[in-house]
């Protein structure tokens, strides 16, 4: 099977807006932030990505391209 395209973080966000992603072959910048990678799976459902993660091994990345709605606050 052909390898998926290596995409920058910005292109990943544009191609898969507001989704959870599983990424392989990722590269990080000096601040440990995702710089680029190959998207293995994408979904609106975080649990689906967690389930897909179990089928893979190696160095992987979970990434969310969405953001909270502006009228939503967060308190943990």
């Amino acid at each position: 099977m052909a390898k998926r395209t290596l995409l920058s973080r910005q292109k990943i966000k544009a191609k898969y807006p507001n989704q959870w992603l599983l990424i392989e072959d990722y590269e990080l910048d000096a601040s440990t932030s995702l710089r680029k990678g190959r998207v293995l799976a994408h979904s609106k459902d975080r649990e689906e990505i967690h389930r897909t993660l179990k089928k893979h091994t190696g160095n992987l990345c979970i990434h969310f391209t969405g953001s909270l709605p502006p009228d939503t606050g967060v308190i943990f």
Binding site: Y26, T32, S33, H50, L53, T57, C61, T72, V74, F76
Partner: protein, 134 residues
């Protein structure tokens, strides 16, 4: 200097956290909220299992945690290493606990990681610097 630039208009600060697997042969990068109000770092339970840390092991200590929603108990384990904002901490204690999917993250980066460094947050500009104290 390790620096993260973020959108200052967002309601919480999300950074990437790199966790080393229990066998040291792989790693997982996940989104976490930088939370100076959290005493410990938290990671989703199934992700810790994926990394080989066995959060269901009954011999693990359970930590009482007081959250906004009430008091809960969560398994506590130690990861080989955790790296965020360009800084690495070896043998970091992590609580295995799930945050709601709506949070957009898989955990919290808490004080037990941040306290090893000098943390500067420029809220108006959206800049985080994390440096070693001299």
């Amino acid at each position: 200097m390790p620096r993260v630039v973020y959108d200052p208009s967002v309601s919480s600060i999300v950074v990437d956290l790199l966790l080393e697997a229990a066998d040291g042969k792989s790693s997982l990068l996940i989104p976490v909220v930088l939370d100076t109000g959290a005493s410990l770092t938290i990671v989703a339970t199934d992700l810790m299992a994926q990394l080989g840390y066995d959060p269901a092991n009954p011999s693990l200590g359970r930590q009482r945690i007081v959250m906004g929603s009430g008091v809960e108990y969560a398994p506590r384990t130690t990861v080989r290493s955790a790296t965020a904002i360009g800084q690495k901490v070896a043998n970091l204690e992590v609580l295995c606990h799930d945050l709601p999917p709506e949070s957009g993250v898989d955990g919290l980066l808490g004080l037990n990681f941040l306290k090893h460094f000098k943390l500067t947050i420029r809220f108006r500009k959206g800049i985080i610097d994390l440096t070693k104290e001299r």
